[in-house]
Symmetry: C2
Amino acid sequence: MKRTTNQRKAIRDVFSQTDRPLSTEEVHAAAQRHLPRIGIATVYRTLKLLLGEGWLTAVRLPGEPPRYELAGKPHHHHFHCRACGRVYEVPGNAELLDSILPAGFTLDSHDLMLCGRCAQCSGRPG
Amino acid sequence: MKRTTNQRKAIRDVFSQTDRPLSTEEVHAAAQRHLPRIGIATVYRTLKLLLGEGWLTAVRLPGEPPRYELAGKPHHHHFHCRACGRVYEVPGNAELLDSILPAGFTLDSHDLMLCGRCAQCSGRPG
DNA sequence: ACCATAATGATAATGAACAGCCATTGCCTT
DNA sequence: AAGGCAATGGCTGTTCATTATCATTATGGT
């Protein structure tokens, strides 16, 4: 039987109140602001749970642990800031890639990851 | 002093004779065809060396170890076959993303990863 | 050819992300 | 309100890619 706990509510709230994909650690830190004793194991378990019920989707990026965001959003791409490490959403045109696929290949999905500095970090040194 | 060994020559040959990014294991297997006693540690060391001198570039993909390819190739994207795990090159139109960047963001690089089944695996079950 | 030493290869050690364990907590049905 | 049991939290264990270690091999300047 699935139960509604304060920890799970807190983690759902974190995602409802943000507009960018969050890593496990970011979720943990954000949830701890409301539930200081929440453990990292619970965050891992709850993220897996929310993935399983299709409430979250994973945003996987190379060489880093996955981020998670609310499922069902309109098509968009992601921008990874190499200064602060945060991942942002950017609007996406989805029809760009139909023509470039070699013969015989079957396309399931695609992922466009942009890399640079976000507005907040563009003005800073480093 | 840097020495030219048979192992390093073999690894360079592997990349000169292929047209898709190779994982460490793929490089090891290919090099072993000519040098059966080559160790995986040497492959790791040599890949790092060739990266350092700019002869190779890394192709990083989410949740998997990086692939490597010859540096200096014309702009292209990558296709990851979810059946056989191989990564292929696909021709790239580079001007796809000029318009979609939010104000204040600085773009350093981008990476378009396509995911599906390659020509070889498209006909097979699974 | 000689030999200092760079490079190799087998294996142990590391590091990071995540899962398992288990005593304790607290949700929810009755 | 009470207790069965799902869920939690602190921890250890696992997994996997990669790196360190070290005795041995082999390259290249002399």
